[in-house]
């Protein structure tokens, strides 16, 4: 594919412009999807990091975990039938530190389980972000609905819910603060989803979408990401279309001397792949760099998995765009080009 490469070298400016646009678009895409992912972690890491399984809410809860109260008998029976199952509750609230400073948290409590932190009465385990706010192991925290005190037992990474750090507390303490005896939800890890009467079941994804703001947030950001991907495909189609229009004469001559149409397509594909790969490599490097220098409070979380998945999509979309623009090459008559050249 020397001819394709030679052309790029000869018309550097044109290809550099396209390359920079693709670079900017893909970089922006990576940043936004890093933000989408970061926000989603910030909003729901607690739930997202659970293994695949089934969530159960009270049938009358209108698919809202806040309103859900699992019947105690149902809970007992379910936990007995499914040894891995756990019942849990989440409520937004706050704790006061020794200086009486308030920190918002999402209180989480659960029955004995490996899936959530298990704490004893009067103890509390917090998300690591609270450590950054100055709380240390051994500190004593209070809550105005709670008669006792919480001693900070430790910190855990990436346990966020509804953009607040999670605070794991013991069931009895939780029941005192929120004055409820029932748990909100039951989670059963694993593939099979037993049907349990009186409750409604949700997949992990469905449960995430039941978190207020989660789907709205994710949907708008993901929409931007896919728009950018489609735009980059259209850029390729438009760019190569305009390039091809300028080169109709050349393609005609190449066809006249016997070049296969497929070879002409290969030329475009080669150029598209070179541009995309270089632009993506730059974007990947820069977006990874960005995740290091991103400001502290910015919820930016870009995994290499996401980056490579999106890069693959960019390549496919670029290929489709370039190919669509190539259809006009198919129609070029060699003769027409020769005569045009003579006019």
């Amino acid at each position: 594919m020397k001819i394709a490469w030679k052309e790029m070298k000869k018309s550097k400016a044109k290809f550099l412009i396209l390359g920079s646009i693709i670079f900017l678009v893909s970089f922006l895409t990576f940043i936004i999807s890093g933000l989408a992912n970061g926000l989603s972690q910030d909003n729901a890491a607690l739930i997202k990091d659970l293994p695949a399984g089934q969530f159960y809410l009270d049938e009358d809860a209108n698919q809202t975990y806040n309103l859900s109260k699992i019947d105690e008998d149902v809970q007992k029976k379910t936990l007995a039938d499914n040894p891995d199952a756990t019942a849990f509750s989440i409520q937004m609230g706050f704790v006061n530190d020794a200086e009486d400073k308030q920190h918002s948290v999402a209180f989480v409590t659960s029955t004995d389980s490996d899936l959530f932190q298990n704490v004893r009465e009067g103890e509390i385990i917090l998300d690591r972000t609270l450590e950054d706010e100055g709380i240390k192991v051994g500190d004593v925290l209070t809550n105005n609905q709670f008669s006792g005190e919480f001693v900070v037992k430790g910190f855990v990474d990436q346990q966020k819910y509804s953009h607040a750090p999670v605070a794991f507390i013991q069931m009895k303490n939780y029941q005192e603060i929120y004055r409820v005896m029932e748990m909100q939800a039951i989670f059963i890890p694993g593939k099979d989803a037993p049907t349990i009467s009186g409750v409604e079941s949700f997949s992990n994804k469905e449960f995430l979408n039941a978190i207020p703001s989660y789907s709205a947030e994710q949907m708008s950001l993901n929409m931007i990401v896919w728009f950018l991907v489609i735009i980059s495909g259209m850029l390729f189609a438009i760019f190569f279309y305009m390039m091809n229009v300028q080169k109709i004469g050349l393609y005609g001559i190449l066809k006249a001397i016997g070049m296969k149409t497929l070879s002409l397509f290969r030329m475009i594909w080669y150029q598209m792949i070179v541009i995309t790969v270089v632009a993506l490599a730059l974007s990947i490097a820069l977006s990874q760099g960005f995740s290091i220098v991103a400001p502290e409070g910015m919820p930016f979380h870009l995994t290499l998995d996401t980056v490579f998945m999106l890069s693959g999509v960019f390549l496919v979309v670029g290929f489709i765009g370039a190919t669509i623009s190539g259809f006009q090459i198919k129609k070029i008559e060699p003769l027409q080009a020769i005569q045009q050249g003579e006019m």
Partner: protein, 225 residues
Amino acid sequence: MSAFTIDEVKKTFTNGEIEEEILKGVNLTLKEGEITALVGPSGSGKSTILTIAAGLQSASGGEIIFEGKDMTKMSQEEIRHIRATDFGFVFQSSHLVPFLTVEEQLQLMLDVSETKTSKKEQSKAIEEILKLVDMEHRKDAYPSSLSGGERQRVAIARAIIHRPKILFADEPTASLDTKRSKDVMELLQELTRTLHLTTLMVTHDEEMLPYADRIITMRDGYIVE
């Protein structure tokens, strides 16, 4: 020995409602090692018969026999293959690839014709042809830096580098001055003889006729002599 026969070839163009018969049955046999010059008034159908013979457009009737096979019955892909391997083309303008050097233009033609010789032999062949057209000193130049005559010589080199059997040339000297035209014609004459080409050339220029072995005159879609 006849390598190429055009038999009762007709061509009709339809312009809206009007059908116009441009070629009304052209018969012509080309001979190996000879330049056949096609002359005649403008609009008489010279370019049309040349491009039909070269497989660049289809005929409305008749047969074109190349190596015993009727090209009018071949598929597009078969005709493309013949154009790539057995035909060479020189047009009024050189139609070189703007972003390839002289040497690369020739390499491209070798690639297109799927010439199966080794890289070393190919670069040797390129060198020889460039010497033949007296362009070896400009082998790394791009078309934009060549003069019209130089470009046309490169175009001729490209037309013969893959050792075609038939060379089609439509007014190859039209963009050149008399001196340059004569150089190009001498070159075509020499190449036709030494490489045993069969050359069909359209020309307007009386002065180029002495270089032809045979002169065929067209008028109103017929060959008149």
